[in-house]
Subunit: 407 residues, 2 copies
Amino acid sequence: MKAVGMVVEYNPFHNGHLYHLQQTKKETNAECLIAVMSSHFVQRGEPALVSKWARTKMALAGGVDLVVELPYPFAVQTADMFAHGAISILDALHCQEICFGSEHGNIDHFLEAVHLLKQYEQEHNQRLKQLLESGMSYAKAYATALGQLQNEQSTLDLSKPNNILSFHYVKAIVEQQSNMTPKTIQRIVAHYHDSHLPNEETIASATSIRHHLQTDGLQSISSYVPPTTKEELQRYYTVYGTFHYWEHYFPLLKYRLLTINLEELHQIAEVEEGLEHRLKKAIQQAKSFREFLTCVKTKRYTWTRLQRVCTHILTNTTKKEMNFIRAYKKATYIRLLGMNENGQRYLRKMKKKLKLPLITKVATLQNDPIYKLEQKAAQAYVSILPEPLLTEALQMEYATPPLRKLT
Amino acid sequence: MKAVGMVVEYNPFHNGHLYHLQQTKKETNAECLIAVMSSHFVQRGEPALVSKWARTKMALAGGVDLVVELPYPFAVQTADMFAHGAISILDALHCQEICFGSEHGNIDHFLEAVHLLKQYEQEHNQRLKQLLESGMSYAKAYATALGQLQNEQSTLDLSKPNNILSFHYVKAIVEQQSNMTPKTIQRIVAHYHDSHLPNEETIASATSIRHHLQTDGLQSISSYVPPTTKEELQRYYTVYGTFHYWEHYFPLLKYRLLTINLEELHQIAEVEEGLEHRLKKAIQQAKSFREFLTCVKTKRYTWTRLQRVCTHILTNTTKKEMNFIRAYKKATYIRLLGMNENGQRYLRKMKKKLKLPLITKVATLQNDPIYKLEQKAAQAYVSILPEPLLTEALQMEYATPPLRKLT
């Protein structure tokens, strides 16, 4: 059985994802489509709109055969570590190929860029350091330094968000010496951060879909998501009375920032270079998350990076706890979130060959340094719910078996 | 000018407090009545019903001349440290006498008990240790060990809450070699923990008043508090929309307990002997503060002790931060909360003789190890308010000058 991997957030699962999934199946002749999906918080440092369980259902409904979890310490990370975590899990599942969307669409150019970097790594690191010292954000400095390595004819624009992610997938494959073959499909959405819905089209970015869901309600996004996504969002809202936005977590973040000591704050992951002072000062006056981040933001600290910092504060994730990930750069287990019958067949077949333990009950993971962080994130995620929903949602982390879908 | 001190919580100020205050004035011929008052959290490990500012107004309205703050690390403490903090502040203000209510009412017996303890301190400590090892709570073990020192004819019952507090005031005076003369007035309320309001009387315990306020509203307590207390409670409720009960803080406590690491929890003040495991386990299922404490409670961990533990978790107060207090056992400053003209006259007179710096603006205290804890407590206290009230209330800690009352 040929398995093909994808790295996803499905926040929420929309027509663009469906298109990518169908293209992947067609172009790779995949017999089992595996998605490694960010858990409750996503790479931009935001809570996912709905829980990982709800998003797993959307994925299965959309045709994914197996959904496995990208745990918090990899999911809420820069592109580099994010890619390493995802690749290590797909590799452990014996995917033959991995297929990702990019603005660029030509895999050869990504491979070239990675090999260039490997060849001139020292120069790259020097340039990166210089650019960082000039006050540039990490993401921008990294892309700029890479751009300087490429020859002038290169058309691969590494400042584009999906190009840089794709670059890191390829780089992680090379660095982990994985046998997976990388493939890319050109993305057909307008612009990643675009928050206007195209009127006549059926594909819009997840960002714009979330934005319209928040301001205009569920009906306004009907054309851009499969009916099953709409149903799942509706069901979630009916049960929990809310979707999850940063603003809902602001009272918890503010409480935490007010009572945390400066030294403790400095120990939180990604709180560097005296950022703790800026955070402590700004929180005194900020009445909303947006107001807070606007006040803290500088050229160096991008919105996304600050959102990640805030997420780590919210989940109480320390530098020390992240050290393991930084050094090891790979997952330690595969957590199964959901599968259809086809996915189940694949697992039955591969069970004994998997490179990492397959987890269906997290009770066995209590001492795992990666799961420990996933657990805290899961607990922080539900902390905005009223009781008894909070306690019920809390139990789901331990009690929910992998979701099954009959095909 | 003869100054007489009192140690108070005024949670809220009621007719019993008014009686005690008037008796104190009469029996001591005080020319200036000074109250050292617990700030936002009280000794039983609870948030005060209303802020320290509102309670200061009640105190001034009741006839107190000077209100000074008992900072958080002394206020939320066992009787021993609570007394040491309060005595050190009243002593620094040159009170000639200190007058406290007790069930017993005879100061000589308290003095005898303290001198007995000093004489047989080693025996006492041995007994205390044995009793603690048998699983008794600290408060009960301490009172029992003391009781065993007294001769059989002694009528001083140190298991009574105000007797044990009074004992510790006298003990602190002796240990700090203060010149203050201790006096006691017999309390006339029925029972400290009594939560039934006596129908025909005008005096009820603060506990029962809070209980009735919560269940039956402001009107139900009219007979038991001065009109000014009722007005101040009404005003507070109108502005903030709430009084402060533990249940309101439960979502913050639960969030914090869910995301805190075991090792961090062990570093919180008063979390001893593996209590962190019980707390972490119980929080998973508890849907309310009451449910939580009921689940954690044992013979050894009394309700009051556990409430203090929870308050320290809420305010993020660590053992390390409490070390200073434990070793030094004295306040480092006098923070003025309010005064009338008489109190102002006293301060003007004594200004140069005070044994500790008199603080009216806390900006000067930023590096003080005691104020640091008061500040965190003040920030945790307002964290349940909705914005923009939260941010406004937060500023009060820095911006509120001592309250003044025209006589």
